[in-house]
Amino acid sequence: MEKIKCECGHENPYGTKLCEACGKPLEDEEKSSTLLDMRYDGVARRSQTYNKTIVDKIWNFFSSVKVGVWLIILTLVASSIGTIFPQELYIPNTVDPAEYYREEYGIFGQLYYTLGFHNLYGSWWYMLLVASLGVSIIVASIDRGVPLYRVLKNQRVTRNENFLKRQRLFGQTKTENIDETMEKARSLLKRRKYKIREENGHILAEKGRFSRWGPYVNHTGLIIFLFGAMLRFFPGMYVDDLVWVREGEIEAIPGTGGEYYLENEQFIVDIYDKENTDEVFLDALERTEGPVIKNFQTNAVLYKRVDGGTIGEEPELEKVKTHEIRVNQPLTFDNFSLYQLNYKLNELNKMTFTLDHRETGESVGEIEIDLFQPEEEYDLGNGYRVVIDSYFPNFTFNEEGEPTTISSIPDNPAFIFRMYSPEHPEEGEYSFVGIQRNEDIFKENDYQMSFAGIETKHVTGLTVRKDLTLPFIILGGVIFMIGLIQGSYWSHRRIWLQRIHGEIWAAGYTNKQWESLKRDFQALEEAGIQMPEDRLEEKEKQKEKE
């Protein structure tokens, strides 16, 4: 398309409304209205100029602020729907979600589940919405940012009369001594930290131009942030796992490929109790039911596998560091963090039994069973042996009435023992022993297994997390904040003072905060320049009177 040449000699791109150099209105439509539309200084924006091809149409769609606002509002509304009932993430994971929503929240819960709102933030349409938001931000920013940069760089000090006359703040001053007034004004503006440019005795005073880039900087930050959030879906970027470690034990840390191991030396829970707590808290503790937890922590040792060990063999470990893992104080190493998340107190770990003669009550010997690795046979000497026939770590009866186990965690251990003794060297005697349960199978045994004691251990539950997207998220966040502050806490102000027809013409423009700009003009009254009138305000007052 052809360029538009202005009177002042500057060549403007096709579609420009106000000459980039002198500000002269270039289009008829602009000539007719009293106040100039100063948005983006009247630059040629692609979206306002072309609307033929499909690319133009898509471009124009996404560059529209109206569309942008709709996308923001839609995201907002969608997000709020997701908080009506808990997301699937937050319901107990032992239940069937379909049932859960129906039972907890009735018909609405069922509807919620059917519509997929229980997993709203991971749904394709929510992601599509956020993606469109991203596209819109990029397109809108390029559409405006690039030409805005051009025009602010090319602007000339001397402006067209028509440009000045039709600013929101405009005033004419007759004065005896123009030179003196201009000089005074210049130094006043300088004192107010304006950057002054002069040309043929005209002045352009400008301040805070960099704040115009604020939105573009913050949009860039947003895009980097969204990009970082998207990376989550690439394999290897993100690990979210859980490891349970019993006191005194060492476990491989999942996600590290068997490279790191963690030992739980000790697990501690403290509660706020009446004795050891500061007295200011007593009233509050009085009111709450149940104990208030003060701290829970894992005294952990991190180990690294020494190279060369073959898989399956006992790994050779090297101590890396020790750390007290608490909530808010994760253990970090090599992009990984281990967080104190959960715990289980007093998990059964070992059980001891004695083999007793029933009639005399005499004890033959004692066996200690590691509930996680029970041995098959315990030899007590002198012909006495105990064999574990069956072991049910978490015992229950199944539908057929047979003993079985729910899991391999010994929450409710039960055993079927075979007791060998000099009296029963061949077959032995059967005994079924569990918690609160000690039965002969045939009710005629000479010997019995008596419960003698248990040993329990605390178990710590740690979240294993690696998140390689964090650098992007942080970078995006930082850039976003910088741009936001840049655009919000400063404003771009321009004051033009020109000698025209023996008068001083003063005009002012700011992208926000007109009251502050007016105060700058008030200061210029000292130099003898009349306060320009605010024509928008005049117009409104006029309207109110009518």
């Binding site: 963090s337 966040g477 936001l484």
Partner: protein
């Protein structure tokens, strides 16, 4: 120390009350008006400002002494959080007063500050020890920044409200007047809630119920207001108190619902008493006092408040929040309801800022948006905390 802290807050409350009165006198007093309605020789606004500033310093004293007493920043439960919001709201007012010198802003902001403090004091006010998740320096950093941002955004809402009172045409009964009066009604409901709670607290009113909770367990519940609505299969254990009209189903927190109904009714009564007294929509009575204010100026005040508050809120409510969530909860974002509502607040104000780029969205529409923004903030604070309670549950 806790006693000193309490006293300082009490003093602050009184000073805010004085400030309100001074600002109201400066705005409504006739003799300082010249014929254009502009102020001349009016020193009441200045007194109001001084009193408010001393009130703020006293409130700051409350904050610091309570911090020292508890050993952690006093922002860990509903009472402390709402009080902090009230304090930042007064601070935000002071900042904007310094920029724009608008007395009328004080007349509308300070009553809200007082309402917030009175409301906050209805929650348990004891100093509570911190649970492990809150034991972090980020508690102070995250919460104080967020609450400051919310305070500043709220002043924007007050300015928006003033804009509406100044410009709406109250001679025509339409949607706009209705919604404006509705805003006033929500404020009278809050006032109503505070009043009846204090009245029944003063009378030591309690009604004990035995009821069946949503898990089918039998439990007990104590009402502090007469029960209009009882709990699920509730049986009154206290004698000589009012019986409920109906019982709520198990999944509703019936004592909360009961309180809400009481507040709405009392609010309605207060509102109609006001109407009877004034014989016109409240806004129509306010408007003549506001004639001296330039709409473009008050519009800019509200926008300026949002422009200052938005980055601070974003920093505290999203960025610091994410940093802390990464440290305490293993992930910077987890779609917890409170997090989502912070995001919604953020998106809402982002939409506001973008709408202001378009023509026709300055002034009135923008003022409505500011008021809605405040409603979202309060919703997040009160409803999401007390009803949707996720990881953030206070109180």
């Amino acid at each position: 120390m806790v006693e000193i802290s309490r006293t300082l807050l009490y003093i602050a409350f009184i000073l805010y009350l004085l400030g309100t009165i001074f600002f109201a006198v400066s705005v409504t007093g006739k003799k300082w008006r010249d014929k254009d309605g502009a102020m001349t020789g009016n020193r009441w606004g200045f007194f109001g400002f001084i009193v408010t500033t001393i009130g703020f310093i006293s409130a700051l004293g409350y904050f610091i002494t309570r911090w020292i007493a508890a050993g952690h920043p006093p922002v860990s439960n509903m009472f402390e959080y709402l009080t902090a919001l009230a304090i930042t709201l007064s601070l935000a007012f002071i900042i904007l007063y310094l920029i724009y010198k608008t007395n009328v802003l004080g007349m509308f902001t300070l009553p809200v500050v007082m309402l917030l403090i009175a409301y906050a004091s209805l929650f348990p006010t004891e100093v509570e020890p911190l649970i492990p998740a809150l034991q972090s320096d980020w508690l102070a950093i995250h919460v104080s920044t967020t609450v400051l941002g919310q305070g500043i955004l709220s002043v924007g809402a007050a300015a928006g409200f003033i804009y509406l009172a100044r410009t709406l045409d109250f001679t025509q009964r339409g949607k706009k007047v209705f919604w404006f009066e509705f805003i006033i009604y929500t404020l009278t409901s809050l006032l109503g809630y505070i009043l009846i709670r204090y009245i029944f607290q003063w009378m030591n009113y309690t009604a004990q119920f035995q009821y069946i909770d949503e898990n089918g367990q039998s439990d007990e519940m104590t009402y502090h207001l007469p029960a209009l609505i009882g709990p699920n299969e509730g049986e009154l254990l206290t004698s000589g108190v009012m019986r409920p009209f109906i019982n709520a189903p198990a999944w509703i927190r019936s004592d909360d619902l009961n309180t809400v109904i009481w507040s709405l009714i009392t609010g309605l009564i207060i509102y109609f008493l006001l109407r009877l007294l004034l014989r016109k929509p409240i806004g129509a009575r306010l408007q003549p006092f506001l004639k001296g204010i330039q709409p473009t100026v008050i519009d800019e005040v509200s926008y300026r408040a949002i422009a200052i508050g938005f980055p601070i809120f974003t920093l505290g409510g999203l960025i610091f929040a994410m940093i802390w969530a990464q440290i305490a909860w293993t992930r910077f974002w987890g779609w917890d309801p409170k997090e989502v509502w912070a995001l919604i607040t953020f998106l809402f104000y982002a939409a506001y800022l973008h709408l202001r780029l378009s023509r026709g969205w300055h002034g009135e529409r923008s003022a409505w948006l500011c008021v809605i923004g405040f409603a979202i903030i309060m919703f997040n604070l009160i409803f999401v905390n007390l009803v949707i309670a996720g990881l953030h549950s206070y109180a």
